[in-house]
């Protein structure tokens, strides 16, 4: 079961990364990136690294995303 879970998480990660690549709207890309970080956090929790998981949840999914959002607010949302 654990292995299935692991593989599913890895697949999920790759899919989210591709979704980030695909998104035309930068806001959508940044938000999907936050869910990428979140899945990463899940993966690390599963791998026995709760400290890193928490950091990723707080920093990767939280602060980084918010910084991206500010940058998008200050520039433009559309990718040409």
């Amino acid at each position: 079961m654990s292995v299935t879970f692991d593989i599913l998480l890895l697949l999920f990660l790759i899919t989210t990364a591709l979704a980030v690549a695909r998104a035309k709207d930068l806001l959508a890309a940044a938000i999907i990136f936050s869910s990428y970080s979140l899945v990463m956090c899940l993966l690390w929790q599963h791998r026995g690294a709760p400290d890193v998981a928490m950091t990723e949840a707080a920093v990767g999914a939280g602060i980084t995303t918010v910084l991206f959002l500010v940058a998008i607010a200050r520039t433009t949302r559309r990718e040409k």
């Binding site: 079961m1 654990s2 299935t4 879970f5 599913l8 998480l9 697949l11 999920f12 899919t15 989210t16 979704a19 695909r22 998104a23 709207d25 806001l27 959508a28 938000i31 999907i32 936050s34 869910s35 979140l38 899945v39 956090c41 899940l42 929790q45 599963h46 026995g48 709760p50 998981a53 928490m54 949840a57 707080a58 999914a61 939280g62 995303t65 918010v66 959002l69 500010v70 998008i72 607010a73």
Partner: protein, 91 residues
């Protein structure tokens, strides 16, 4: 019980995977934000499941962190979408 929890975890993950399609396909950005928020809720539950599977109560803190930040991000993104600015001006 362990395998039941794993099963539930995998089931939720598959669900989240399905939500990802909505996040990616849109059609509007709000859909994307909503979908990601939902992925967040599902994943939060998976985090709690993992904490119980591993039998370490302290891992619940991570779920709590994520729950809070998921809320903050969604609100921020909604605000950005609504006004194009972030800081409010309520004097």
């Amino acid at each position: 019980m362990q395998s039941f929890f794993w099963g539930v975890g995998i089931f939720l993950l598959v669900n989240a995977f399905a939500c990802l399609w909505r996040a990616s396909a849109g059609p509007t950005v709000v859909d994307c934000i909503l979908a990601v928020n939902i992925i967040g809720t599902k994943t939060l539950v998976v985090l709690v499941l993992l904490a119980l599977v591993f039998g370490r109560a302290m891992l619940l803190d991570i779920a709590l962190v994520y729950g809070l930040l998921n809320f903050v991000i969604t609100v921020t993104a909604g605000r950005l979408l609504e006004t194009g600015r972030l800081a409010g001006d309520q004097s």
